[in-house]
Amino acid sequence: MSVSYEYYLVLSGLLMVIGLIGIIIRKNIIALLISTELMLNSVNIAFVAFDIKLQDVAGQVFVFFILTIAAAEAAIGLGLIMAIYRMKRDVDVTKISELKG
């Protein structure tokens, strides 16, 4: 028995919204980075779900590109978190923010 593709789409949409809410409400810079990664990876589920529907592989190729980009972004994000932590000894956005937005 196979699960129809709509369920995967609902899951990916849910993860996307959770990631977006995370970016808006979380105050910890590591959690912010995780939320971004969650959003990017939820798209992968959507692509694979659409491939089930379309009986195609083009979407799965796109998944590889997104994985690469997510990895690059995680690498830069962690580097920046290290740099920020060295300078401020804190990971709370409300305490370390100097720019006024």
């Binding site: 789409l9 996307m16 990631g19 977006l20 970016i23 810079i29 912010l32 980075l33 939320s35 971004t36 990664e37 959003m39 990017l40 939820s42 798209v43 959507a46 692509f47 779900a49 659409f50 529907k53 379309l54 195609d56 083009a58 979407g59 190729v61 796109f62 590109f65 997104i66 980009i69 690059a72 972004e73 830069i76 994000g77 920046l80 978190i81 740099a83 920020i84 300078m87 401020k88 370390i96 923010s97 100097e98 720019l99 006024k100 937005g101």
Partner: protein
């Protein structure tokens, strides 16, 4: 090897000849990547970058137009070649003044040069993408290089914080764009822009609209349109000023070009969906950008908000949804890139000196101390404000015409009123420069190259306003080339 040979025999070898500009930029970037490990010679690295960019810009003229290569993933038409040329030429001006700036900030990293080249390569890929995959990869190559570049200022906490904000919000934008692409792919089963247009035709349903709206939101975030502009002031202020010029000038140009290509080629038939969406984003950008810019004391932040407002002016032309609009957006984007780069490079040149804090007060009496530089700034401010005979006026005039031709009167009114409001902050700088006595007569220390580059860009801004015929013709040509591709489907 047997498998590889049979694949090549099946598909044919892609035409690498038309990729020469990209290959040159990539080669130079990789050379510098290795070279900077062995040498600390900044002039060598910068000269090599400028040489590579110049060579690539010249090679653009020797490429045959209208070819699709890499199995339909890469298009080399008039549109992409011209924008490639413009991107390369304008980035040369940034490289030319880059070394004195990082010398004065004592913040040398060899990474600067190749990361800038990689982000320029990303922009070149963006503007020549007939396919959402290529567009996405180019956009990300550009953005990811820029995230790092923003953070590359030694012993400066703000730079790291700005880079992190840019990374998080830019990452969210990337995710939103890719979700939009996923929905469009799920609807049409293809990533090809023309293929999407063929599949959607004129009857776009809820899935297509959802994908299109997410794509618009993501691209608006990358182009820093209100209400997705939060990262812009922070990232622009925190970045080293030449990098701000790269982000606010060249990267914006590539983003606008991509926005135009994607909306026209893939969604040409559904302008009733995207025209109002862009109109709302444009109106919000104009109002918010101009009103917040009024309150800024720091000129770098002021120019940042002015760049948000200009995003509004430029995107407003998309609201008309017709050929005149595409013409106007291309013309304004092309002249805006010179103004924006010259404005930020002006700050970067003065910022190197003791006692210059980028504040509006610093401009007081500048006309007495540096008459020529003050004149350049006057031209730039008048051009951003849109006073004839500068290029900014011709750009706004084109957008005005396109909005009237499409009967979008409310947006026309917003455009005119916010332009008048913007006089408040542009003219404050001009007034400070010309109507006050300088506090000290001491001259600021500027290099000849900085003077030459800023002078070249501002005189070009003036010339394009007096004699806009060349750029009119080019915008016309590009619009035709775009619409031809869209119609030929």
């Amino acid at each position: 090897m047997g498998i590889l040979l049979s694949i090549v025999a099946d598909l044919g070898v892609p035409n690498f000849y038309v990729l020469i500009p990209e290959i040159i930029v990539l080669t130079v970037a990789l050379t510098i990547l290795v070279l900077e490990l062995f040498t600390k010679n900044k002039s060598l690295l910068s000269a090599l970058s400028i040489f590579g960019l110049g060579l690539a810009a010249i090679s653009v003229f020797f490429i045959q137009e209208g070819d699709k290569t890499l199995y339909g993933l890469y298009i080399v038409d008039t549109f992409s070649l011209w924008f490639k040329f413009l991107i390369l030429i304008t980035s040369i001006t940034i490289f030319a003044v880059f070394n004195p700036y990082i010398d004065s900030k004592r913040s040398y990293y060899g990474e600067h040069y190749y990361l800038m080249l990689f982000s320029i390569l990303g922009m070149m890929i963006m503007v020549s993408s007939p396919n959402l995959i290529t567009m996405y990869m180019g956009l990300e190559l550009m953005s990811i290089s820029l995230y790092i570049l923003v953070g590359l200022l030694k012993r400066d906490y703000k730079s790291k914080e700005g880079a992190f904000k840019y990374l998080i919000i830019g990452g969210a934008g990337t995710a939103i764009i890719s979700y939009g692409i996923a929905l469009i792919y799920g609807k049409t089963g293809t990533f090809d822009l023309i293929g999407i247009a063929l599949k959607l035709q004129d009857n776009i349903d809820v899935g297509g609209i959802g994908g299109l709206v997410l794509l618009i939101v993501g691209l608006a975030l990358k182009a820093s349109a209100v209400p997705f502009h939060f990262w812009t002031p922070d990232a622009y202020e925190a970045a080293p000023t030449p990098i701000t010029a790269l982000m606010g000038g060249v990267a914006k140009l590539a983003t606008y070009a991509t926005i135009v290509r994607v909306t026209v080629d893939a969604f040409g038939g559904s302008s009733e969906v995207w025209a109002p969406a862009w109109a709302v984003l444009a109106a919000a950008s104009m109002v918010v950008g101009n009103f917040i810019a009024l309150r800024q004391k720091d000129v770098k932040r002021m120019l940042t908000y002015s760049s948000i407002a200009h995003t509004g002016y430029i995107l407003a032309a998309l609201a008309s949804g017709n050929g005149v609009g595409f013409f106007a957006i291309l013309f304004y984007a092309m002249v805006y890139v010179f103004m924006a780069i010259a404005g930020f490079l002006f700050l970067s040149a003065f910022e190197r000196n003791e006692g210059w804090t980028n504040s509006v007060e610093d401009f007081k009496g500048l006309a007495k101390r540096h008459p020529i530089m003050a004149l350049y700034m006057l031209i730039l401010m008048f051009s951003m404000l849109g006073i004839p005979p500068t290029a900014g006026f011709m750009g706004k005039f084109g957008i005005f015409l396109s909005l009237i031709s499409a009967d979008v009167w409310w947006l026309t009114i917003v455009l005119v009123i916010t332009s008048v409001i913007s006089a408040g902050y542009y003219l404050r700088i001009v007034a400070n420069m010309y109507m006050y006595e300088p506090i000290s007569k001491a001259k600021f220390n500027l290099t000849q190259i900085e003077k030459a580059v800023i002078g070249f860009l501002s005189i070009l801004t003036l010339l394009l306003g007096v004699y806009p015929a060349i750029f009119w013709e080019i915008s016309n040509l590009l619009t035709n080339s775009l619409l031809m591709t869209a119609v030929a489907r």
